[in-house]
Amino acid sequence: MNTKQKITRLIEFLFGILATEAIVFAILFYAFEEPTRLVSAQNEILQTQVDDAMTLYAENCAVCHGLAGEGIGATPSLDNDGLRTMDYDELVKIIARGRYETAMPAWNKTDGGPLSDYQIGELAALIQSGDWNATRDRVVNLGLAPLVPFETEPDPVIFEQIGALTDGAVLQQAVTLFATECVACHGADGLGTSLAPALNDPLVREKAADELTRIITLGTPGTLMAGWSSTLAEEEIAALVTLVTRWDEVPLGAIPAPDVPVPTTAESLALGEELFAANCSRCHGPEGQGTPRAPALNVKSFLTETSDLAIQQIVTQGVPGTAMPAWGDRMTEADIQAIVGFIRQWEATAPEVATPARGGGGGPPWLRSDAPADVFVPPGQQTDGAAGQAADPQAGATDHREGSGAGGPPDGYGGGGVAAGGEHTAGEVPPWAQEQVQPAWWETLDQRVLVLVFSGVGVATLLIFVGYVALRRNPPSDGE
């Protein structure tokens, strides 16, 4: 055996021993850690499943079982120790197959529901070991919060008027029942919500009393409509049928919308702030203090008089005849609720009188004027159907709406604008009216792109050059 072979053997032995040691010690160490790893893997899997389940809960269960499993009305609570200690298989069975004679349907795909076995298992894990506060946040962040509380008070004045109608007592009883049991889903004055259809509707009034009685008594399979025979007496159901068939006689406003605060979370507030800055601040001011284009929102009078539901409705549907567009087609319900929640949190610190973004140091020169503050007029109290314009200052700001320059907002603020304090030159365009200038593609490149492209091209060029030159210098030896 020569020296070279001896050196080779030495190196090979060294590597062999090192590798063997690595294998042995790695396995020993891993085995030592294995019990800990198993436990943490179990927790991790449980957390993932509970996390999935919170979304499933928000999408499927929250509407009946409440924001955080607290239970609504006749639907039982899920946040309790009885269920937490219940047999897992039993829980899975109830969710999968539903409960006979209750509103709980079967959720399993094999029984016609939308959920897979695995998802039902996840929900059972949520019930047994989930965090209901986190679930509440998830439901709110997804914009799926049910409208709690689920009842309201009949308007006392109209309630008296109803008493004067034929069978007034029956109608009064029905209105009271509706305000406590039905309004949550069927909406104020029975005009319907996203959960359930309108009942105060000519088409419904045409239906036979028998059919209506049957629906209320037995429920409608495949919908959220439960059978009410166990909760309501026969005469109560009959009273409700009377109300539904004679609703055209009952004045509007008998059963007003409940004042339901929009629930918020840290995430939804952050989202609301972001959305407000992007969509609302141009007209309502960066802090909701109002501008000549739109009234102040960050003011006591507006916030105390307007319920969350009303704000949500204004944002969703817009205010006809004003510059306020309907945002319902551009944003999800979750987005709008986030904005409402964000606006609502101003209430604690809102000034009595708004200080709109103009005059003094409030905002850039073209927004300044000496006009008094806007006062918001809720849509219901408008005299001319155009709250913003009605309340807008007459002096000083008039010029704002005379121009009709291209790129201005809908209510006519625009091009001219010279009169606004005289500081604004004609050529200038305010930032919100400027078109977004898309940077050219070469302006978006960063150094990494340049490094990658130039090094790639450089290496390739070098290779081509070296190969080409070598081939030129090295003709085929045989000469073909």
Binding site: F15, E34, A41, T48, A460, G467, A470, L471, P476
Partner: protein, 463 residues
């Protein structure tokens, strides 16, 4: 040899089962190699040169070792697996949370399988660039190409088994091209998937393929492959570019020189895989959800070059014609390039080296350029609206690309007086670098909607 009966049962057993004991001289060592089932894949003596690890890089041996590792971990995984949805996924979760070493065994299996794809391709490249497919080794080249397909098939069928989102959508994307196979496409898809789409039936099909058909086929072909190496005269002997054909070969006994080296090599790789598998877990996403496709939905990584082609060609061209042509080309290679010289010389000759370098450089420039051009500038379907998509989006760009390759080949032939051997080398290098770059683009540069993004600016789509 030692026939004397002993008193002790241990001694008697040793005398009967292992009559020769450990060999004490080279003669004994050589006899041990010849008489041993496993060791007999080696000759009794090997050339020192062929053992140079910078020649083969031990790739074939490593592939064999990985197959053994995959077989043994695979059998262990099988014990805790049910090929039905959604039980399969629950089994994988159990493996992770309730089975001792379950996660480790799955990780080793996962990483070995992916390493095997890499190693098999590198082995093919090594054999190509050293001319080791030349007579009399054509058969073994064919077997090797067959095993490459089986390794890809094995990895692909295994990809589905965890039944998570990653698995489900990668297989959905990967099998969707089957519909474009002419005439029998739909039937073939249904046969493989057990229905119109990936489902529990697919899981059972893939499981059967994965644990029986493919391992058996690989085992058979692997034995055949080893046997052919011996029949074809062992490994090709490495030579330097300027060395003459006839170099003096120093031969040494297989035991200990080769066997020791193989053992050490296997141990080092085993240690590396084991430590890697302990540190980097195999990916596992949420349970397969046919209603929720991720964006982008990508095939397994080794098919992303192919998926990249689909973005540029009609599926019949991109997924069927081009890959089929490629593999047919690979299979025909040893029968087209029939020169028997330069075996054992990396890149054939000085000129061969230069051509390889040139082809690499050209491919490095032209492949990304073509991808960018086709993505942003060339809109064949818009330019040729009256023609069917197969022509405007498939055959026309294919013809353009083919024309480009032919022109390049002509240029190499005319400009450098390249021989057939050299042209094959040039084209093969060009295409392999192109596949490599397409795969890199598919893995790192394709984002949501399969649009091009810089890897560091990849948008994350949540769902």
């Amino acid at each position: 040899m030692n026939e004397t009966p002993s008193d002790n049962i241990i001694q008697r057993m040793r005398a009967r089962l292992w009559p020769n004991g450990l060999p004490r001289d080279d003669r004994g060592r050589m006899r041990l190699v010849v008489n041993n089932l496993i060791l007999h894949i080696h000759p009794a003596k090997v050339s020192m040169r062929a053992m140079r690890w910078t020649y083969t890089w031990g790739l074939g041996g490593l592939a064999a070792m990985l197959l053994v590792l995959l077989g043994s971990t695979g059998i262990l995984l099988e014990i805790n697996y049910t090929p039905s949805a959604p039980q399969a996924y629950l089994n994988i979760l159990e493996l992770r949370s309730n089975v001792w070493f379950g996660e480790l065994i799955r990780n080793v299996h996962h990483w070995s399988a992916n390493l095997l794809v890499v190693v098999t391709v590198l082995h093919l490249l090594r054999v190509f660039f050293t001319g080791a497919y030349r007579p009399p080794r054509e058969t073994n080249w064919l077997i090797g190409v067959g095993m490459l397909l089986l390794v890809l098939g094995g990895n692909f069928t295994g990809y589905l088994l965890p039944w998570d989102q990653l698995a489900f959508w990668a297989i959905t994307v990967g099998t969707s091209v089957l519909t474009y196979v002419p005439l029998i496409g739909d039937a073939l898809g249904r046969l493989l998937l057990g229905g119109p789409e990936v489902s529990g039936a697919t899981l059972l099909n893939f499981y059967s393929l994965h644990i029986s058909f493919i391992p058996l086929a690989i085992f058979g072909l692997m034995s055949f492959h080893f046997w052919r190496i011996r029949k074809d005269g062992g490994l090709t002997n490495p030579r330097g570019v300027d060395e003459t054909e006839k170099v003096k070969l120093e031969r040494v006994t297989t035991i200990p020189h080769l066997v020791r080296r193989e053992l050490v090599y296997a141990l080092v790789w085993l240690a590396a895989i084991l430590v890697w598998a302990m540190l980097v877990p195999a990916p596992l996403e949420g349970i397969a959800n046919p209603d929720l496709s991720p964006n982008p939905a990508k095939a397994p990584w080794y098919f992303l070059g192919l998926q990249e082609l689909l973005l540029h060609f009609h599926p019949l061209v991109g997924a069927i014609i081009i890959p089929a042509a490629f593999f047919i080309g690979l299979a025909l290679l040893p029968f087209y390039d029939v020169a028997a010289e330069n075996v054992g010389v990396y890149f054939r000759s000085h000129r061969g080296r230069s051509l390889t370098v040139l082809a690499t450089g050209l491919s490095l420039v032209s492949t990304p350029l073509w991808v960018a051009l086709d993505e942003f500038v060339l809109h064949w379907a818009d330019w040729l609206p009256a023609w069917p998509s197969l022509v405007s989006n498939g055959l026309v760009p294919l013809a353009v690309v083919a024309l480009g390759l032919i022109l390049m080949d002509e240029w190499v032939k005319d400009s450098f007086k390249a021989t057939v051997e050299e042209r094959v080398l040039f084209l093969f290098t060009f295409l392999f670098v192109a596949i490599f770059i397409l795969t890199i683009i598919g893995i790192f540069f394709r984002g949501p909607g399969m649009s091009l993004y810089w890897p560091w600016a990849m948008p994350v789509v949540s769902h």
